[in-house]
């Protein structure tokens, strides 16, 4: 068994902790979303939502709690999309040659990068959940400690697979591009539709039909679905909408994310095998 990808992982984590400002901003940014956007929007949404009574027997959830799952997803998306950028710097500064000329299999480069990107996302998600508790996010309502643990593992599983897909995507783009500006442009172009054509901030039930259809194919929607299922349960009511998930729904969402990651792996694998960097 070859473990060289842990070498790449090790270096990525050194870089992550060494740049203090970058570390701090990556941890602070999701908290700021929650603190400002979340609190501001929730006081508005809650005012309207209170006029629609929940159906009998369904737990009403406040907007901040609903949105917290969206912030987890959004943070994971951003971190993962930017995860490949260190490959671009490696390439531009010539450092990539050291790895490419070594006996380490090339796939280990992308595995190491992906693993470190996943770790960063896990740290961020943990911080959002902890900070959310402080702001009044009501995750895991009335859960037993055992169910809380299982739920957290479930959330991490979804976050892990989702981030893997986008990290591999980001690595592929980085290997094919010449400049960080190019990657920045592609990321900006992608994040807007991915983020807003999803159920991260609001229910998709009120979307026009076309956007509803599109949102079904959006991996972010499936990540949010998974996170909400584990954090809020299979049945809840929010912003005048009733949510009801069956285990089959959740498995389907998970399978979709796995398929997405698998396709991205295949594409990245091809890119790395063919890569010529001098």
């Amino acid at each position: 068994m070859a473990w060289e990808f842990l070498t790449v992982y090790w270096r990525e984590m050194i870089r992550f902790t060494r740049f203090r400002t970058q570390l701090l901003s990556s941890l602070l940014q999701p908290a700021l979303w929650m603190a400002f956007f979340g609190v501001a929007m929730s006081s508005n949404f809650n005012r309207f939502a209170s006029s629609v009574p929940p159906p009998a027997g369904v737990v009403p959830v406040d907007y901040l709690t609903f949105m917290a799952a969206g912030v987890i997803a959004m943070t994971t998306l951003f971190t993962s999309l930017f995860g490949g950028i260190s490959l671009l710097f490696d390439k531009n500064w010539g450092l990539m040659r050291e790895m490419l000329a070594s006996p380490m299999p090339r796939t280990h480069i992308m595995l190491g990068i992906s693993l470190s990107g996943m770790t960063k996302s896990f740290i961020q998600v943990a911080i959002i959940m902890a900070f959310g508790l402080f702001l009044g996010v009501q995750f895991f309502p009335g859960y037993s400690p055992a169910r809380v643990v299982v739920s957290i593992l479930g959330i991490f599983l979804f976050v892990g697979v989702f981030s893997l897909g986008f990290l591999l995507f980001s690595s592929t783009i980085s290997m094919r591009l010449e400049s960080p500006e190019g990657l920045q442009g592609i990321i900006t172009l992608l994040t807007l539709p991915l983020f807003f054509v999803s159920n991260a901030l609001y229910p998709i039930q009120a979307f026009p039909p076309l956007l509803q259809d599109l949102s079904i194919y959006n991996p972010l929607t499936h990540l949010v679905t998974g996170v909400r299922y584990f954090a809020l349960g299979s049945e809840f009511f929010v912003v005048g909408t009733n949510y009801s998930y069956t285990p089959a729904d959740i498995l389907l969402s998970f399978a979709y994310l796995v398929a997405f990651a698998a396709v991205m792996y295949a594409v990245a694998h091809r890119t790395f095998q063919k890569a010529v960097v001098t």
């Binding site: 070859a2 060289e4 842990l6 070498t7 090790w10 270096r11 050194i14 870089r15 060494r18 740049f19 500064w93 010539g94 450092l95 040659r97 050291e98 790895m99 490419l100 000329a101 070594s102 006996p103 380490m104 010529v276 960097v277 001098t278």
Partner: protein, 323 residues
Amino acid sequence: MGAGGERLSGDDIIEVQDLEHAFNGFQAVRGISFTVRRGEIFSFLGPNGAGKSTTINILTTLLPLQQGTVRVAGHDVAREPGRVREAIGIVFQDDVLDRDLTVWETMEFHGRLYSIPRDERKARIDEMLAVVELDAKRNERTKNLSGGMKRRLQIARGLLTQPEVLFLDEPTQGLDTQTRMRMWDYIRGVNAAGTTVFLTTHYMEEADMLSDRISIIDHGRIIVSGTPEELKNRLGEDVVYLETGDDAKVRDALQGIDEIRSITESLRGLSITISADGSHCLPRIVERVHDAGIAITSVNLKKPTMDDVFVHYTGRELRDTGA
């Protein structure tokens, strides 16, 4: 290194046959063949854009082989790139160091890339850092190192895996004269310890001082190869400067020495151009002049420099040839 002598082909650690390489229609390497013998320092000397870096990139498996055959340390670069990678060390042209890693982390990262076991890795890193005198800097980030230290760190890194061949791409580019001479000492030391060295350079004196053998490369072709001495001798343009009591008589005295091509007056007395190894011809010149009863006040033999060699074979100066 020895004079003449039969060599087995097994002594060739790098074998290149009819190598060609093109980038988008531009032929960077146009059919070169050469061999590097185990244990020697071999140089590619040529201006920027001559094809040196392309060749080194193919030899180190960074560029795919397009045309020709290349064997490094007994392995074909196209068929067994993994084996080649295990057998070589590389010092890249620019400072290829992660600015934010420490000296030790730089070495540790490299050692792990090559899967050197932990204990051995630790011992090798300590040893190599001591060799290049960077022991005291092990916790310094590489961005804080001087130019010479960075280059030394890269040499230490290239040698960490105990490679059979060390590739050095322009090892002293951009270094000041003093640092450059120290680098030469390190390279000689590395070679003396048994590592074959392949280096590219566009510094004449570097190729001249370091190499056992040199190939001059220009426009993607090897123009001439040989030891520095052979190359200079092949020019056949040694010049003897002679100051005597009676310059006019000297011409008569030297009649009949075939190697003498011309005799001209110069500020330093007579300058005698010789079409062969001047050091063999000089005693006879002195003997003849002495026998003719002419007093000699000074004798000087000037060998051609690598600059002269380069100009002779390429028809232009190496300096200031842009990429």
